[in-house]
């Protein structure tokens, strides 16, 4: 055996972060190559929560696929439902009545607030500010209670229906929601007192995960993640659906495109959502809550129990599905995470030939390597928080 000369060398440490890790918000798996504390390479792996929702949708009628959308972004299931029903309504060529539109807008913004609350809670907890977490959960609990009041479910609501909403809102609910909107702005200040001007928070978020406006558009970012870079794009504003063209609201944008700006954007969105909810309560028109389109909407339950015609109609709609015109459609809505798009190809049968979901979380997860490389390990956590992903939606 000859003498082997060994050259001492350094190499990157390969760390597997996730799928079970307290800061990866579900089952995201990141493989990090780190040189000391500096991140050299990040590879996100997704798919641990894949349930084949798109494929399942092809084997179910349009009515049956609605509850599946709750299971995508389970933090704000209401907005997913709204996205789905809006797309299907456009495909059917029907329109929900005014009152239903206002109710949808209202509950959609409630979902936006509750989703952003969970985001600020976990984002702050990841950076180490644990009190914000519990403050935010106090308000989220309040909102979930309101969801329960309106439809009996707290998380997977399935409240909107194709052509309207499931049931009308009570005056009692509107009163408690109005009380919430009175109280909520002062609660936002609670969170901001703790972190907004905190030097450690500023040091941890300013200049971290910077992405320019042009690059953000090229990566396909949407929602607050895009607006933090200073791009004024909001589906609610630019292609309004439901009652968004009848309420008054601003779209906050950032300037630097760093973690702090994205944080500010979402904090300002709290206030805008609050404003929208108040306007919806004030302007809520009277009238029906389901569209008058018997070929495409399920008849009311008490009619089904009373007469034959409605029972038959319901039976046909549920088992065979409605007679949908042939064609394809893509409808986008603004969910708390970004732009959620539903794409349907219809072959004229009661089930979609192809159902495809454009999930903002999936797109945002892909930008992680771009944001993290060159920063430190601790910034990876800040970046996961700032792009606000939920793996249920990412993996579908």
């Amino acid at each position: 055996m000859g003498q082997v000369e060994k050259i001492l060398e350094t190499r990157e440490l390969n760390v597997n972060m996730g799928p079970q890790h307290p800061a990866t918000h579900g089952v995201l798996r990141l493989v990090l190559d780190i040189d000391g504390e500096t991140v050299v390479k990040v590879t996100p792996y997704v798919g641990y929560l894949h349930r084949g929702i798109e494929k399942l949708g092809e084997n179910l009628t349009y009515f049956q696929a609605l509850p599946l959308t709750d299971r995508m972004d389970y933090i704000a299931s209401m907005t997913n439902n709204i996205g789905y029903v809006n797309a299907v309504e456009r495909l059917f060529g029907i329109e929900a009545p005014e009152r239903a539109k206002f109710i949808r807008t209202m509950v959609g913004e409630m979902a936006r607030i509750s989703s952003h609350l969970l985001w600020i809670a976990t984002h702050a907890l990841d950076i180490g500010a644990m009190t914000v977490f519990l403050y935010a959960f106090r308000e989220r609990e309040w909102l979930l209670g309101l969801f329960e009041m309106i439809c009996g479910a707290r998380l997977t609501v399935t409240y909107p229906r194709i052509g309207g909403v499931r049931n009308d809102v009570s005056q009692e609910f509107l009163d408690s929601l109005y009380k919430f909107t009175d109280e909520f702005p002062s609660r936002i200040l609670d969170y901001e007192t703790l972190i907004d001007q905190n030097r450690i928070w500023l040091k941890r978020t300013k200049g971290i995960g910077v992405i320019s406006a042009e690059e953000a558009i090229n990566w396909g970012l949407t929602g607050p993640t895009l607006r933090g870079s200073g791009v004024l794009y909001d589906v609610r504003k630019h292609t309004p659906y439901d009652a968004y063209d009848k309420v008054d609201f601003d779209v906050p944008i950032g300037t630097e495109g760093d973690t702090y700006d994205r944080y500010r954007c979402r904090m300002l969105e709290f206030r805008q959502s609050n404003r929208i909810i108040r306007q919806c309560i004030e302007k809520l028109p009277n009238g029906p809550i389901m569209a008058d389109a018997p070929k495409f909407t399920l008849p009311p339950k008490d009619y089904i129990l009373k007469d034959m015609e409605h029972l038959i109609s319901q039976f046909i709609l549920i088992t065979k599905g409605p007679a949908v015109p042939e064609g394809e459609i893509y409808v986008a809505t603004e969910v708390p995470k970004g732009e959620l798009g539903f794409y349907f190809v219809s072959d004229g049968s009661g089930r979609p030939y192809r159902m495809r979901v454009r999930a903002p979380s999936f797109v945002h997860a892909s930008v992680l390597p771009r944001l993290c490389v060159g920063h430190l390990v601790a910034d990876v956590i800040a970046n996961i928080g700032t792009i606000d992903i939920v793996l249920g939606e990412c993996d579908r």
Binding site: L13, R138, I200, R204, V380
Partner: protein
């Protein structure tokens, strides 16, 4: 050599007294450590609009005991690739180095196990040993997460030990002694009553360094839950985990005691307070000592509930670029004042 029977008996009595003192101190200290966790959970709970432990006993008072029993009976898991003897040794080193320091703390007048003339130095020397516990536990677990945690912690503790040591030099200069009892006496006899007033800069540096030294928020990087899951002790379970936990809280108790002894006057209270309110002089010294210690521990909890966590490079920058220069300047000023006056 001529040893009489009387001398042997005297010696044995001395040893006996020391053993009793050790038993008393260890027992009380461990109880305090256990209840420090309860105190922390209650304080942080109320700061975060929740109740903290409420189930075990009235207001959850038996919670620490329940936790202890649970940890004691948990399975002791040894990772397959761990370096067995070192893995077993690490928590013992960590815990022991924290415990030994209790011996030189003067809890009240004439109650100190070992009245060393270099008490302060002794504390630093032993606290420095605790880093070995952290580092080897990170190394021996053979896990990447605990390895990074161990590295971070060693770097952090070593750099902040410098700042902490330097911040106390001002106190040594003013007291003219390294003996902790003498430091307290010097404060009692000084016009200020406690060294926090002339040594306020030193106290601030000490407080920041102390938080970092004990790996507490906002400097809890080694065990940064969101990044490294639990840091250097991620592979430990059951009673070995409990040893790390106890060690951390004992270290907090020690550091708070040093703050009380070196800056807040230990078991004494300033003369101007007793002059204004004479009845306070009847309060036993141990009460004042514990009050000061718990005030400092409360500060720890308050910080934890309020602040986010620093990043590794920012933490190092604070230690080397701010705290150490400030501490050095403080020493120079203290020395000059001492010479000139």
């Amino acid at each position: 050599m001529n040893i009489t029977g009387q001398e042997v008996i005297d010696f044995l009595i001395k040893v006996g007294i020391i053993i009793i003192k050790i038993a008393v101190v260890l027992g009380i200290a461990l109880l305090h450590v256990a209840y420090a966790t309860y105190f922390e959970r209650k304080v942080i709970g109320h700061m975060q609009v929740r109740l903290g432990p409420m189930r075990v006993g009235p207001h959850g008072l038996l919670q620490p005991i329940a936790d202890g029993i649970k940890l004691f009976f948990k399975e002791d898991i040894l990772p397959a690739n761990a370096d067995k003897p070192v893995f077993y040794l690490a928590p013992v080193i960590f815990m022991a180095s924290a415990m030994v320091n209790l011996s030189v703390i003067p809890f009240t007048k004439n109650f100190v196990i070992a009245n060393l003339n270099v008490g302060l130095l002794f504390i630093f020397a032993i606290a420095g040993l605790g880093v070995y516990g952290i580092f080897i536990s990170g190394w021996a677990s053979n896990s990447k997460y605990s390895f990074i945690g161990g590295l971070r912690s060693s770097a952090q503790v070593i750099s902040y030990e410098v700042a902490m040591g330097l911040s106390l030099v001002g106190v040594m200069v003013m007291a003219g002694s390294l003996n902790l009892t003498d430091i307290v006496k010097a404060q009692r006899d000084s016009p200020w009553g406690m060294f926090i007033i002339p040594q306020i800069v030193g106290f601030i540096v000490f407080t920041i360094a102390a938080v970092a030294e004990t790996n507490r928020a906002p400097f809890d990087l080694p065990e940064a839950e969101s990044e490294l899951v639990a840091g250097y002790f991620v592979e430990y379970s059951g009673f070995r985990f409990a040893l790390f936990f106890l060690g951390e809280y004992t270290a907090m108790l020690i550091i708070s005691s040093i703050a009380a002894v070196c800056f807040l006057g230990g078991w004494t209270i300033p003369w101007y307070i007793t002059k204004a309110l004479p009845f306070l002089s009847h309060v036993p010294g141990i009460v004042w000592f514990l009050l000061k210690v718990y005030l400092f521990i409360f500060l720890y909890y308050w910080l934890r509930a309020t602040l986010p966590r620093y990043r590794y490079d920012q933490l190092m920058a604070i230690g080397w670029k701010i705290l150490i220069p400030v501490a050095l300047a403080n020493i120079v000023v203290t020395g000059l004042v001492k010479i000139l006056l």
